[in-house]
């Protein structure tokens, strides 16, 4: 078992752990941040598998764009919830 094998096993274990954590965590914000970490580790694995194009694309797209879209979605959901609460308070007053 060479050093590269140990490194591979470590990365695979990290990917599995971060995937499980992203699926199980209670707070959506924390789970999204763990999903970003998952994407970065995945891009390292792809660089290791001799696919540098995939590594660059995944690092830019998975950890960058799609996570940002999910964060903006959470923000938007919070805005909608706040607006509904304001309307309800107005009705009560």
């Amino acid at each position: 078992m060479s050093a590269m094998d140990i490194f591979t096993l470590m990365l695979l274990g990290l990917v599995l752990v971060s995937g499980i954590a992203a699926c199980l965590f209670h707070n959506l914000l924390v789970s999204l941040i763990i999903y970003m970490a998952y994407s970065v580790i995945m891009s390292i694995i792809w660089a290791m598998l001799e696919a540098p194009d995939l590594a660059i694309t995944e690092a830019a797209v998975g950890a960058g764009i799609s996570s940002v879209l999910m964060f903006v979605t959470l923000k938007k959901l919070r805005d909608i919830r706040k607006k509904a609460q304001d309307e309800k308070e107005k009705e009560q007053v």
Partner: protein, 127 residues
């Protein structure tokens, strides 16, 4: 058998990730978690495809010093296919997030079961 599993450890990790994403997609009631599960399924499938093209000791398919011997480079085809897939998965994610926002605006919850029940109740009231 165990030897095969050990030498195929990267596809095995891809299978585990696929199962993780699939069970999250099926069992978790929260819509955002379902989207994360689908993304994990996507990357697992891409990891499996990439590992099929990987051969240890060979270089990435970028030709160095005019050496065009195919036995010196890994398989370029899976990388090309997966590259297309990654960008398509982003557009699918964006579409699903937009649908989630619309559903939340209508029903004020992210729980798919509650949404389903409310939709059924509305249907019942209409009839």
């Amino acid at each position: 058998m165990l030897e095969n599993l050990w030498s195929n450890r990267i596809p095995c990790a891809a299978v585990l990730l696929f199962a993780l994403g699939f069970s999250t997609l099926l069992l978790h009631p929260n819509l955002i978690k379902k989207i994360i599960g689908l993304n994990i399924m996507d990357t697992a499938a891409y990891l499996f495809l990439t590992s099929l093209g990987y051969i240890p000791g060979r270089l990435a398919p970028i030709i160095v010093n005019g050496d065009t011997d195919p036995s010196h480079y890994v398989n370029p085809l899976p990388a090309g296919l997966v590259l297309t897939g990654i960008v398509v998965s982003v557009s699918v994610t964006a579409l699903m997030l937009a649908l989630t926002i619309r559903l939340y605006d209508r029903y004020h919850t992210l729980d798919l079961d509650k949404i389903y029940m409310m939709a059924r109740q509305e249907q019942g009231e209409l009839q």
